[in-house]
């Protein structure tokens, strides 16, 4: 009888140990997932703000009318 109780207790202890391990694993995974998705959301929302710096680069890269550069040449051309 005693032997039977001992083996059942041991079995239960092993099951509880494995159960605790499983719970710890899933809890840690849940928090990791929640944190990383929060970080991703932050990255995405920051992107919405940061596109202004790209727009500035694009706008600054616009070449204005070239005709102004030829003013002096055109003035001298009139003398010929």
């Amino acid at each position: 009888m005693n032997k039977k109780i001992l083996s059942v207790s041991f079995g239960l202890i092993v099951l509880i140990f494995v159960g605790v391990l499983m719970i710890m694993f899933f809890v840690s995974r849940y928090f990791e997932g929640a944190l990383s998705s929060k970080a991703d959301n932050e990255v995405i929302s920051n992107q919405n703000i940061d596109t202004t710096s790209i727009e500035n680069d694009i706008n600054d890269a616009t070449i204005e009318n070239l005709d102004g550069m030829f003013d002096e040449i055109d003035k001298d051309l009139q003398q010929l």
Binding site: N48, A61, T62, I63, N65, D67, E72, I73, L77, L80
Partner: protein
């Protein structure tokens, strides 16, 4: 018997957990590989940009020497022109043609630097959006198109930097026409390069809008109007130049 059953049950729980950990490990390794690839890409882009700057500088120096030589030849030819004012005007125009080309190249170079920076930023943000699970395939296609446009513009600027404009004088009566032809040639060439830069500019704007569409579809409507505005202004500029 019960111990064996308990051990088997335990293993049944532990093994999938271990397998999940292995999966996560391989995912991390894949991410590291992608990051490394990106860094290599950026280093390559930086190298390309440096090479472009060096080649432009070399071409500018080569062209300077040729202009000096041409100036002497032109001066000798101008002795045939009796009107001093006309002679001086032609000399000034010759100098200004070289100056205008050089200034335009500096502007184009600066614009290309900004476009490089813009497309790199778009690429970085696209990669981040991709990492967070968004489907960025359309943005990557737009980025590729923009990069092709930038390379085409860069090639055009490089070719323009190596061009020399020589005034060939036939006689005093045709002086205006001779000089005007060279002036027009320079104007046309610069306008073509400018159009290439506008095209690259437009493609980058489109890739940015494509990225916006992926991140926040609501923000796209007013931005599409911006692209139209740029396209129209580019067309207006071209028609003005003509």
């Amino acid at each position: 018997m019960k111990i064996i059953v308990a051990t088997i049950l335990g293993l049944l729980f532990i093994l999938p957990t271990y397998a999940a950990d292995v999966d996560r490990q391989s995912f991390k390794e894949e991410r590291q590989r992608i990051n490394q690839q990106r860094q290599e890409q950026m280093a390559e882009l930086r190298k390309k940009s440096e090479e472009f700057k060096a080649s432009l500088s070399q071409k500018r120096n080569e062209v300077k020497d040729i202009y000096k030589q041409n100036k002497e030849e032109l001066r000798a030819k101008l002795t045939e022109i009796k009107d001093t004012k006309k002679r001086e005007a032609v000399e000034r125009i010759n100098d200004n043609i070289a100056k205008v080309n050089s200034l335009a190249i500096i502007r184009f170079e600066k614009a290309l630097g900004l476009l490089d920076s813009a497309i790199q930023k778009v690429t970085d943000k696209t990669n981040k959006a991709g990492d967070s699970g968004k489907d960025v395939s359309s943005v990557l296609t737009a980025i590729e198109k923009a990069r092709i446009s930038i390379n085409s513009a860069r090639l055009a600027v490089s070719e323009q930097a190596g061009k020399v404009y020589t005034i060939t004088i036939t006689n005093e009566n045709g002086l205006g026409k001779d000089v005007s032809r060279v002036r027009q040639e320079l104007h046309t060439d610069l306008s073509l390069v400018k159009d290439k830069i506008h095209e690259a500019n437009k493609e980058i704007k489109l890739s940015l809008n494509s990225l916006r569409l992926v991140i926040d579809p609501k923000s796209i409507e007013p931005k599409t109007k911006d692209v139209d505005a740029i396209t129209n202004s580019s067309n207006d500029d071209s028609s003005e130049d003509e």
